[in-house]
Amino acid sequence: MTRLLPHPALSAMLLVVWVLMANEVTPGGILLGSLFALALPKFTQPFWPDRPRVRFGRAFAAYCAIVLYDIVVANFQVAWLILFRRNRDLRARWLIVPIDLTTPESVTVLAGTISLTPGTVSSDVSADGRHLLVHALDVADEAAEVARIKARYEARLLRIFA
């Protein structure tokens, strides 16, 4: 099973994406999609030697909902900042976020989430993988913002990538 399907979640996603791309559910489309879903993870296996353990449960769904909600809310905040805040009143800061996540996949998801939620861009990771460098467009309290990122996103990711 693991030899045939080294990354079941990746395979499932490839099949779904293929069927959505064709925009109709036909036997031929599913056959071709399954073929890709089997072949691609196998041929690209050197790129992901480890298989991350992901729990696609309630915590995963809640995380997606929270991130989508934050993207919408923060978009309005950034739009407001761009339109009405003067440059010299903008409190742009670098934040150093210490991370407790240990797998490359979970750190990538955290960094991607930080970049997607407006107002913060994850810029780099430290060489030892213990800190993220984040640029924030406007923060009043740096420690509080770091704590918010850790509590809102990282704590949930720690449970999903357990």
Binding site: L20, I82, W94, P118, S123, S126, G129
Partner: protein, 135 residues
Amino acid sequence: MLADLLIAALLLLGGGFVLIGSWGLVRLRSTMERLHGPTKATTLGLGALLVASVVFFQAKLGTWTAHELLISLFLFITAPISANMIAKVHMHRLRTGAVSEPASIAGPPPRPANGSDWATFEAPHSGTPTSTANS
């Protein structure tokens, strides 16, 4: 009629956010601040335009399309990566002195506390999440 109104409202909302994102690109002064405009305000802008497209195809042509969902999926995967690449190049050029621009509000990036450096300047240590050369 109702569908027309909804489509028009979504198009206006989307166009407005894309415009604000572009305005941020013009208005903000240094690279790191500028990154926020186009990568962010445009995510919701593009989202609204894609929902408008879904509503149009459903109301006018009576078909469901899934392509908009895929576009937003690909956007969500690629947007943070391109922002990250721009930020890393900017950090590198700042340190080598190759960049001359108005000083950013946040100043140069700080170093991590424990004596090591960012992955842009130092090879990731083996056996850590940043290292790809494992096992």
